[in-house]
């Protein structure tokens, strides 16, 4: 644990990044004007699956202002495919579980055959974006359509074409994890439930679409890239490999990033840098929203066949789940998402006998990527819906059923009988799930709502309440680093590889640094997302940055303080233990009031004849440190939602939404609450409004915001946020992640609330998103079936 008392950590400090962002003075990638840059526009496949029989760009080259056109064929041998980094993650897992990831690398552009609507086919480079788009219209392509594969189940059917011959079939990856004698448990159980749960396709929809700009310095052989991306170091690795450049010759900068809500690799990431090199001119490209909706960060799209064995009291005895992930045309993220699903399926519940099998299947849709929650909302939706079905069958309140199944607080830390995705033993490290449930129920007034429900029903109102909880392995490794440097004016400069995109890291990392070094956060600046400033970096995703970068910054700042005190000790002829950092330098704690200023400290720390560092201490006031977490640390949360259903229109109004979460030490409660509120809003959209829809031929039906509906201020209710604070013991500051949790439980909580509201009709919501027309259909079916039952009964 940190040795310094927290002064700034835990405070509701105003965000440092706001100063520029509210003035419109942030620098997003598209705001950067590289002199002389050409503009690229990408021609995309209008077919889901087709052979390219002819591609003629000669007319496009005749358009005034068009500088060049490249096709997939032109890139062959000049640009490699994306590095399959996620596939390497399974090496350690394979010692413990049955996991297979087949190689099928994502190409930059289609060559000969297209595999989803929106796949890049050609690129036009011109003097401006308007002219480049003119050029797209002059490219002639003949496609010979091939059979499409609309979903994972059809991909496994005997008639489905094999999309990638090198895979042998359409299964790109699979995993199988089990513990205990599952078959015996099911055979012996008094009751079992078997249910199919489907989670439709989602799209991340950061408000900033992607921009890539690249500039090639021919003289130095150096490539500079500016990109809307939370993982600039990963992009650097890919560009180095794909373009055959030394890592040190590639600089990747992510300036301000306007949301991301996930990761992903996209053809343009390498295409634009390639063009800059090939044309020896800076090249820029900005995605439009239609492109974004067809290629950028699709997610979810899972089907679960879940079985639970349980006893008379509703206690779960065993779990069996077989699920499919529709990975789209390329399974670029190995088992990242499906492993998350498997690891988080049991949530907060004590289920030690389980068997989980997942398969990632390729189809003719956009490749999926890890998006906020990344496999967890799907898992939680399936299990928490199943628990409500069991509660109904047993005649128990859903809250009571949960009480009977939650892991007791005294069992933590608790090994969960499987490795986590990083290969370490999966252990729920700290928390109190039963207390979390009670806190949420009390704050919500759950019992009062239940008491009033009968009178609402009598009055014809369909009001219901739903509960869901989750755990989240946060702070994923393998590491994150910090370079912390003191300048002559006494300002501390922090550099990290964890690029934020809305999480407020410039503020929270400054708070940690301020405490550990000893100045106010006003004197700390945080820079992230530039590979030239720190050698190694991972990035911001997986609720990891506060944990990993926060720990790195804290340790580095503490070591910098020690270094500063050491040199001050030499100058003041005092023991460092008797000194402290103050706002303008270092002062003795005693009554002498002796001080040494930051400029004096710098002069003494600099290399050369005037260096006064103690023997064995390197010159310079800079520390670089990489924090390597021993394992993920488990955050958790419980959500309670109430809804009212209009049975005539199928519209669901979320009346109240309340969360209680444990993200360990809250570095800045205002920022934590903002992350949770935003996550819940994202989850409400996921549940009730948003879906990336394809027709049977895999034509995208949701290519604009008229069709893909994001929730607005009119749809999202106020979100009530409560906290528990169980400090993590897996990092020096007790931090757990909070970036994704808000988005994990809304599908389950809202679906449970809808079913509760419609309990007299026995509507079973086993698929989300649940848009009004789908709910109306469920209501109609329920009414038909109950009418049928009544007729039989009266006959």
């Amino acid at each position: 644990m940190s040795t310094v008392a927290a002064r700034y950590v835990g405070q509701r400090l105003r965000r440092k990044e706001d100063a520029r962002l509210v003035r419109g003075a942030g620098t997003f990638t598209a705001d950067i004007q590289v002199p002389g840059a050409l503009h690229a526009a990408v021609l995309r496949s209008p077919f889901a699956h087709a052979q390219i029989s002819r591609l003629d760009a000669s007319r496009a080259l005749g358009v005034d202002g068009v500088a060049a056109v490249f096709t997939g064929v032109d890139l062959a041998g000049r640009v490699g495919t994306f590095v399959e980094a996620a596939a390497k993650e399974v090496d350690k897992l394979q010692e413990r579980i049955d996991v297979v990831v087949k190689s099928c690398p994502l190409p930059v552009m289609a060559v000969e055959r297209v595999l989803w609507v929106g796949q890049p086919v050609a690129v036009v480079v011109a003097r401006d974006r308007y002219t480049a788009e003119d050029g797209l219209e002059e490219i002639d392509v003949d496609y010979e359509p091939l059979p499409s594969i609309p979903d994972a189940e059809s991909a496994l059917g005997p008639d489905a074409p094999v999309l990638h011959p090198e895979l042998g079939d359409n299964v790109a990856a699979r995993l199988s994890i089990s513990s205990g004698d599952v078959d015996a448990a099911f055979d012996a159980a008094p009751f079992t439930l078997r249910e199919r749960f489907t989670f439709g396709r989602h799209a991340a929809n950061a408000m900033e679409t992607r921009t890539v700009q690249a500039s090639w310095d021919d003289g130095r052989g150096e490539l500079s890239v500016w990109i809307t991306n939370p993982r600039p170091h990963l992009i650097r690795t890919n560009l180095s490999e794909m373009l055959g450049l030394p890592l040190e010759s590639v600089r990747v900068v992510a300036p301000d990033v306007g949301g991301s809500f996930g990761t992903g690799l996209f053809g343009e990431d390498a295409l634009i840098p390639f063009l800059a090199m090939a044309l020896r001119r800076p090249v820029r490209w900005t995605e439009d929203r239609q492109e974004s909706l067809s290629v950028t960060r699709h997610a979810r799209d899972q089907v679960h066949d879940l079985e639970l064995a349980y006893d008379h009291e509703g206690r779960i005895l065993a779990l069996r789940d077989r699920f499919l992930v529709d990975a789209g045309a390329y399974n670029a993220y190995a088992v990242t998402v499906s492993y998350n699903t498997a690891a988080h399926l049991r949530g907060q519940y004590a289920i030690d006998t389980f068997s989980i099998e997942g398969r990632n299947v390729v189809t003719t849709k956009a490749p999926v990527a890890p998006v906020r929650g990344a496999g967890r909302p799907e898992a939680v939706f399936a299990l928490d819906r199943a628990l409500d079905l069991i509660a109904a069958e047993r005649g128990l309140d859903p809250a009571e059923l949960r009480r009977r199944n939650l892991i007791p607080a005294e069992e933590l830390p608790r090994p969960m009988g499987m490795p986590y995705r990083d290969g370490a033993e999966m252990v729920y490290d700290s928390g109190d799930y039963p207390a979390q449930l009670e806190q949420a129920l009390d704050a919500f007034g759950y019992d009062e709502l239940r008491a009033r429900q009968a009178e609402w029903r009598a009055a014809g109102r369909h009001v219901g309440v739903g509960i869901s909880s989750y755990v989240e392995g946060s702070g994923f490794g393998p590491y994150e680093g910090a370079v912390v440097r003191l300048d002559q004016r006494g300002r501390v400069h922090v550099v990290t590889g964890a690029k934020p995109h809305g999480q407020g890291l410039e503020t929270t990392l400054a708070q940690i640094c301020a405490d550990e070094f000893g100045v106010s956060p006003d004197r700390v600046t945080v820079t992230a997302g530039d590979t030239s400033l720190i050698q190694y970096g991972i990035g911001t995703f997986a609720s990891r940055s506060a944990v990993t970068a926060g720990s790195a910054v804290g340790v580095a700042a503490g070591r910098l303080r020690e270094k500063v005190l050491a040199v001050a000790g030499e100058l003041l002829e005092a023991s460092p233990a008797d000194l402290e950092v103050v706002e303008d330098g270092v002062a003795a704690r005693d009554v002498s009031g002796r001080t040494v200023s930051f400029p004096e400290l710098h002069a003494a720390a600099a290399p050369g004849p005037n260096n006064r560092m103690p023997a064995g201490v390197e010159p310079g006031l800079q520390v670089e440190y990489y924090f390597v977490p021993p394992a993920v640390t488990f955050a958790s949360g419980t959500h309670v939602a109430s809804v009212e259903v209009d049975v005539e229109t199928g519209f669901v109004r979320v009346l109240r939404y309340l969360t209680v979460d444990d993200c360990g030490r809250m570095l800045n409660p205002t920022i934590v609450e903002g992350q949770i509120q935003g996550g819940v809003a994202h989850g409400i959209g996921t549940t009730l409004f948003e879906e990336a829809l394809y027709d049977e031929e895999c034509q995208l039906l949701t290519g604009s915001y008229m069709d893909y509906l994001l929730p607005t201020a009119a749809e999202v209710p106020p979100i009530e946020v409560g906290h528990q604070e169980f400090l993590s013991e897996l990092n020096p500051f007790g931090i757990k992640g909070c970036g994704e949790g808000g988005a994990v439980s809304p599908p389950a909580a809202i679906a449970n609330a809808i079913c509760d509201a419609l309990a007299p009709l026995q509507v079973n919501v086993n698929r989300v998103p649940l848009r009004p027309e789908a709910l109306l259909e469920l209501i109609r079916q329920a009414r038909d079936s109950s009418a049928g039952t009544e007729e039989e009964g009266s006959a």
Binding site: Y130, M207, G258, G678, S704, T712, A713
Partner: protein, 163 residues
Amino acid sequence: MGTSPPRELVLHVNGEERRGAAEPRVTLADFLRDELGLTGTHLGCEHGVCGACTVLLDGRSVRSCLLLAVQAEGHEVETVEGLAAPDEPLHPIQEAFSAKHGLQCGFCTPGFLMSVRELLADDPDPDEDSIRSRLSGNICRCTGYQNIVEAVRYAAELTRDSA
């Protein structure tokens, strides 16, 4: 293709006369950003739904992605950069958004600020329903809107106090 050559344009932006050249097909948003360097106006969807590109034209909110630059000739355009000059303190709406954590990534924020400017000009004391309804033409993916609503209320308070 029917492109026409660029022509000289004179726009009144944030109280100043600004000149630039643009083809008639160039949107107001692209002209502000690329020709005048006012990159605070952001493009989120380029089809008039997300509201990130909202600016005021003669005091009324417009989607600058759906207007052509030539259509703005002779009108007063106000962008986020017009709320407060770089050396001035924050405008009360900007101050309120920061104070109430009404932004996270900050990409949609300039559009929200301009919509709120119009809202408060019309109604200096809007209630929550009115705020939520009036801001339903701006999409934010980060905040869940709650702190934006609080920021608008606070901005109204600050504006009334300073009036």
